[in-house]
Amino acid sequence: MTTSTTATTSATSSSTTPPASRGGASTDLGHKARGRAFKDQLARVVMWGAFLLALVPLVWILWTVGSKGYHLLLDAQWWGNSQRGITARREGGGAVHAIQGTLIQGLTTALISVPIGILTAIYLVEYGRGRLAKVVSFMVDILTGVPSIVAGLFIYALWVTTFKFQRVGFAVCLALVLLMIPVVVRSTEEMLKLVPNELREASYALGVPKWKTIMRVVLPTAFSGIVTGVLLGLARVMGETAPLLILGPYTKSIANDLFGGLMPTLPTMINQDRTESLQPAVDRMWAAALTLILLVLLLNIAGRVVSRFGSVKK
């Protein structure tokens, strides 16, 4: 995003500079050119200023979390052990229970919401006409605006209050699905709309049926964009805390059963250690935060790689 903006700006500035130097002969033109050059500089300064301003919190966060959390991550125990039996005043233990919980819940959520989201987007772009499509589109908009705590409470009301089930990892996944679907639908929809109609028409002209056109032409063309959208949704979901506080209380032991008992995750681990004043727990909080950031970063990189190799050769 940023790189493309810079590219356009440098392109425009390079195209405006030559006239300014050429117009030096005529005073009137020179005056105008100086005005333009000034505006150009101003715009450049504002743009860079905004860019740096936006960079400040990002770098700040990364620096704070990184510098406070990195030393625990260097310990093999962090990646191999859980927090079982470790109290706030003791050092040691790891985050493997929370990492596993976050990954399992994230993948389960993605497994449910990606097909639903992509199929909904295909419907909206390729098939949807008339009232139903409008209703679906409107509903997705509403779902986008649902605060995460509301999604959590809704599933709690459904899962616990109505069905009298226990709070388990899968209930968390359901709440996260509610949050992930609209992100996937919206981004996929935008990507599908970007696919040039000529491609579809060419495909039809060759006698390819609609479903095959979508499968073989439209989706591959939009593939990298769709993957980016899915990853954005996944990143949002993996860092989500509110539904987890309601539906997925923290536990210090490894628990990989989605349908039996509580499941620890990185956000709830951070939340648990946040309330502690003792140094070992505080250190673990920063380390867990850094782990979460790294996890999302890794997923993003993996997605980039997949979308690069998966996209249609131009």
């Binding site: 191999g80 039996g85 470790i86 040691g92 993948l107 032991s253 004043s277």
Partner: protein, 372 residues
């Protein structure tokens, strides 16, 4: 082509997570050898399974230690405790989401909002729910004044400090009971809990009982006095630590962890220092308020007994006397037994809780034996 790519991505993810799943370890005992005190006495009674509990944050540090000790001896058992607050704990207990609840106050037997907590619990359990006192946490009046290592306070003076009538450390009322101590003339900065807390409730109960003329506000979970609000015990303790002239009320463990000065309390029978023994003495004088094995305690905050530290908080575990699930109640029983054992209780003093006095402990142990 695209489908295969997606399949590739999915399979990499699945294989990766399976690989991660396989290599995690729950065994942390090697790393903590020597740090834990295992209650070896109950090692014969080790059911396996998972228990979930939720409630009071005041007992969190204590129950964490107890869980750690129990899990060291019983590696097949997992116990989770979520410190979400007493009210939340009772709610989840009544909703059947947790196996037992931790609470700063016993289930209420009087009607509130058309419901009686104790009856609700009995209805849910199908048998009476018992309150078992398990952890006693003294509340320390903690201060940070340079050069003052020993400070004696009476209930009236505490009340006047916390309602803003006494504003400087060398006030005549403080100087009178602290002869020989050089008090600075700096202002007193009061910090209170901005969240609703059982600690605030017990502290104001004490002020209301021991100094009724100076503290007239009703005891409540929300603070009604003066000062500056900070969130949670860690917040107030941290604020006092970083503020010269600060004073607050917090659980003993927080005062200890932050190395704050702890005032001695003079309830009328001489100054009493805060330690395990003086707290035990006060708890021993508490009257039983429940029937049979329902061991709710009524503390005498205005106690004039010599050597008894009066500002205490008793936290309970709330359990069904007849459990719904046989395996779970067996595990609950085993865990609570280990929690109430002499070894575990004694190990709590180090982290700022007072062990249950022996006469209370034997009663609790008898009640746990009667659980089924």
């Amino acid at each position: 082509m695209k489908i295969q790519r997606f399949g590739l991505l999915a399979s990499v993810a699945v294989v990766g997570s399976l690989a991660l799943t396989a290599c995690g370890s729950d065994n942390n005992t090697g790393a903590t050898a020597g740090g834990s005190s295992s209650g070896g006495s109950s090692s014969s009674d080790c059911p396996t399974g998972t228990l979930n509990a939720e409630g009071s944050s005041a007992q969190k540090n204590a129950i964490d230690e107890a869980i750690s000790a129990f899990q060291d001896t019983c590696s097949g058992a997992t116990i989770n405790y979520n410190p979400t607050g007493s009210g939340a704990g009772i709610k989840q207990f009544l909703a059947g989401q947790v196996d037992f609840a931790g609470s700063d106050s016993a289930l209420k037997t009087t009607e509130k909002d058309g419901k009686i907590e104790a009856d609700e619990a009995a209805k849910f359990c199908g048998s009476p729910a018992w309150n078992l006192p398990m952890v006693t946490g003294p509340i320390a009046v903690s201060y940070n004044v340079k050069g003052v290592d020993k400070l004696v306070l009476t209930p009236e003076v505490i009340a006047n400090i916390f309602n803003g009538k006494v504003t400087t450390w060398n006030d005549a009322s403080i100087a009178k009971i602290n002869s020989g101590v050089t008090l600075p003339s700096e202002p007193i900065k009061v910090f209170f809990r901005s969240d609703e807390s059982g600690t605030t409730e017990n502290f104001t109960k004490y002020l209301n009982a021991a100094a009724p003329s100076a503290w007239t506000a009703e005891p409540a979970k929300a603070w009604t006095g003066k000062g500056e609000g900070k969130e949670k015990s860690a917040g107030v303790a941290g604020a006092v630590k970083s503020t010269e002239g600060g004073i607050t009320y917090a659980e003993w463990s927080y005062a200890k962890d932050n190395q704050l000065g702890i005032a001695q309390i003079d309830n009328g029978a001489g100054a009493v220092e805060l330690n395990g023994e003086t707290v035990g003495k006060a708890i021993a004088t508490a009257k039983a308020d429940g029937e049979g094995n329902d061991l709710r305690l009524k503390l005498d905050y205005a106690t004039k007994e010599a050597g008894a530290y009066p500002i205490n908080l008793v936290t309970y575990e709330i359990v069904c006397s007849k459990g719904k699930d046989a395996a779970k109640s067996k595990l609950t029983k085993a865990f609570l037994k280990s929690f109430a054992s002499k070894e575990t209780q004694a190990s709590l003093e180090e982290i700022g809780y007072a062990p249950l006095p022996d006469e209370v402990r034997t009663k609790v142990a008898a009640a746990i034996d009667a659980l089924s």
